[in-house]
């Protein structure tokens, strides 16, 4: 005799089920969805969930990657491996090209990460995408805590926090006007630790830079940055080889690594579980500019 307790899902299974429901809902109701794929751990979990949602059929939408020209080569390698295994269609929107064609102005002061926003919005518009899946999580940052699963963007791609649609039960409202699009966040209710538990459980391929490795790094603004011709050292900065790993991946001139010996998924899970500093606070220069940095970038149309 089975009891109600036998019919409980673990928290990971419940999160997975919710995310799969969101993927299917979008594909059923919105015309041209796309998955924003950075090659980072969150976008890989998204891709895994999308794979599960439509199996045994192929992904019913393409992947979109914004290439900053400053991506880690290890991340691009993982991206290509996933695209090949799934037989997915990859659209690359290049920041370099956007600069060359005048869509984005490189004034020498704006980070590549910010120029990504304009490149992204242009790619969404020219391809006619009406829904873009993003890997944002509500636990990441205060401005994200109020983000909807379906985040409505106006025809300038902007987010208005005071004018969001109420979201009840699991009834999502995908109505759009001409020119508008929807950002959809299937990982809204996942935390960083959930992401790592899931990657460890699913045994999916992630970029090697998430694992501890020897790397030549230097310290800037309290962060360890990788040595690179794109990021020349300034006066007084000393390059040294250390054992490090990355907690997030992004523009290599801004994404710091942490000293770590975690070389397996289990060790990473253990490290994340006892971490006392948020992943973005520790390793993302782009979120540190002001207390409201994320809120401002989201309003402009960032991921």
């Amino acid at each position: 005799m089975q009891t109600p307790a036998d019919y409980r899902l673990s928290h990971l299974d419940e999160l997975e089920s919710e995310s799969i429901h969101i993927f299917r809902e979008v594909v059923a109701e919105l015309e041209r969805p796309v998955l924003m794929f950075s090659g980072g751990k969150d976008s890989i979990v998204m891709l895994r969930l999308a794979e599960k949602a439509f199996h045994p059929a192929r992904l019913p939408f393409p992947l979109l990657q914004v290439d900053t020209g400053l991506d880690f080569p290890e991340v691009l390698a993982t991206r290509d491996a996933w695209v090949e295994r799934l037989g997915a269609n990859l659209v690359v929107a290049s920041v370099e090209e956007a600069i060359a064609t005048g869509i984005v102005v490189d004034d020498g002061k704006t980070s590549r990460n910010r120029m990504q926003t304009a490149t992204l919005l242009d790619a969404i518009e020219t391809n006619g995408f009406t829904a873009a899946f993003g890997g944002g999580r509500r636990d990441e940052e205060k401005a994200r805590a109020k983000e909807r699963v379906y985040s409505h963007r106006d025809d300038f791609g902007q987010w208005d926090p005071k004018n969001q649609r109420p979201e009840l039960w699991s009834l999502y409202n995908g109505r759009l006007h001409e020119g508008e699009h929807m950002r959809v966040f299937p990982l809204s209710n996942w935390t960083e630790l959930d992401i790592w538990h899931y990657i460890a459980r699913e045994r999916v391929e992630i970029p090697s830079i998430y694992f501890a490795h020897r790397r030549r790094v230097f310290e800037r603004d309290g962060m360890l940055l990788t040595e690179s011709p794109h990021n020349p050292c300034r006066d007084g900065e000393v390059v040294a080889e250390r054992t490090v790993r990355f907690r997030t991946v992004g523009d290599l001139t801004l994404t710091g690594c942490v000293e770590s010996a975690a070389s397996t998924l289990e060790e990473i899970v253990e490290e994340v579980a006892v971490a006392r500093v948020t992943e973005r606070g520790a390793t993302r220069g782009d979120d540190r500019f002001s207390e409201a940095a994320m809120e401002d970038r989201k309003k402009e149309g960032y991921f």
Partner: protein
Amino acid sequence: MDLLRFATAGSVDDGKSTLIGRLLLDSKAIFEDQLEAVEATSKTRGYDYTDLALLTDGLRSEREQGITIDVAYRYFATPRRKFIIADTPGHVQYTRNMVTGASTADLGLVLVDARQGLTEQSRRHAVLLSLLRVPHLVLAVNKMDLVDYDQEVFERIRQEFVTFTQRLNVPDLAVIPLSALKGDNVVTRSEHMPWYEGSSLMHHLENVHIASDRDLRDVRFPVQYVVRPKSDDYHDYRGYAGRVASGVLKPGDEVMVLPSGLTSRIAGIDVFDREVGEAFPPMSVVVRLEDDLDVSRGDMICRVKNAPEPTQDVDAMVCWMTREPLRPRQKLAIKHTTRGARALVKDIQYRLDINSLHRDTETRELGLNEIGRVTLRTTQQLLVDPYEQNRTTGSFILIDEATGNTVGAGMIN
């Protein structure tokens, strides 16, 4: 480890943000850089204590005005459970936000200040939580330190609340005396209140029995998406993807598809690349049938002798969420499970005063944040159950076709 979603209601004055800040801090969901930022802000503002409420302040526009404008979601976990808090503000647009936050909640947490006792606001919160059929309710009597941990004060509030909730539908109620600021009965049992024999708030959240809240008897499987690979390997594969709303489905079960009424048997249930022996709520699965029926999104798989009612006349409690009032003859779009239709407002039977529970039958419209009993006529049949039996097949949203906004939330009678 399982998952518990709870909604909190109350204003800053009740110490709600302090309580949430403490739950996050004590379960180590707050990181050092977040705490340092809050300490620095508290200092700049000239406070002589660390204002934990700042941890849950979201957007700059809110910080500038010192208010919360929207539902915010917070996360923490203990070794026993993962928790999702839907944190709803107590004042501005409270109804719209509370209804939103409560719609997915397993448990509702209402806070009162021990010095004030029950207020109109705390009664209102209890009414909304019961209307949304949140199965578990906790009344946290906060600031017990400010009434000298007096048992009589607590007992008076508890008695009054128990009496009040007898008029509502509250299947499970716990009343806990605590001090969020001092940490009494938040995570550990307080030494200051030996007369209280119940558990601490955290212990209650970790152990409250939610396994029986789900309906495992009435099979309801709204078809969300048809999976047809059309590849060489899966040439004839045709599966119906969806999330189990209620009941347990097993291969071999005889099922009926609505609205067609055609019957078949379940050939198999797939979760990604493996077949499973059963599917139960809230699993997302793909169901294959033995017969080649014409099934599409918006249809519902159920049992032959246990089916929802197909109807075009919907009688529901509606919470109205936009400035322009709801009036009879108005036309709206409706989304129910995976099915969409258009709806005509036939009648507003009454407006419910959520403070007095009085039914105002004179009203001709529902304003922003008002709740009333409404009858709708839909262009297509909906496959409905009463909301009190099924929170998935008993709920719907109303959409303004011109703006595309979600303007109403409905619970079917």
